[in-house]
Symmetry: C2
Subunit: 132 residues, 2 copies
Amino acid sequence: MENHWKMWNAECAALEPEREILALEITTQMADKWLLWTLSVLAEEGSPLRFSRIMERVEGVSQKSLTKTLRQLERDGLVTREMFPEVPPRVEYTITELGLGMLEHVRPLWLWTVQNLENFERARRKYDERRG
Amino acid sequence: MENHWKMWNAECAALEPEREILALEITTQMADKWLLWTLSVLAEEGSPLRFSRIMERVEGVSQKSLTKTLRQLERDGLVTREMFPEVPPRVEYTITELGLGMLEHVRPLWLWTVQNLENFERARRKYDERRG
């Protein structure tokens, strides 16, 4: 077996507890559907997008969920938010380089998982049957 | 911007709710440190490993956490468990192809996140300062 697993284990062990929590927070939220979808809608657009336009494209998201999601993305530096003092005020969101990088790394995992859902379903069914 | 984001968004939207929950469960648990570490110790070994050997290598894990983690991995088909009727009984764990595939897709995301921790920390600090 290749040596890179060993290096990876060393890297896991070396992370200070505080930074490890942050890394876990970042990766965990990438399993949030609205967050991932919002980010990829902004990646698809590639230029600033208004709140209302994002809401149209992330089908089924509520205004409250989208507000929360965009705030979270902005806080982590994955999108930027710009407000134009018009009446009514116009607010636009743009994906950052960090956001694009994150998406590039999350997407293969997510697609692989979806492609393997049947394997996971089968494994769980078999396990649960064995355990009665 | 490339078209693959559009395809991905379509794929997100098309997933039935039940399967989406499963996909989220699978990807979320990959942010669990013990789970990830245990899986990569088994990948590093590449052959069956006894419970006690795994526990030595996943530094700091408790017996209870490791038991729970291995059960979760076995249920999702990421490791197999074999019991040999000796006294005391010997139990060995082996990573599956599915487990190796999962790890191959999780690792780039995790390493990227760790490499970008400073960017995330800085973004959060700035955001929190702005919001007072």
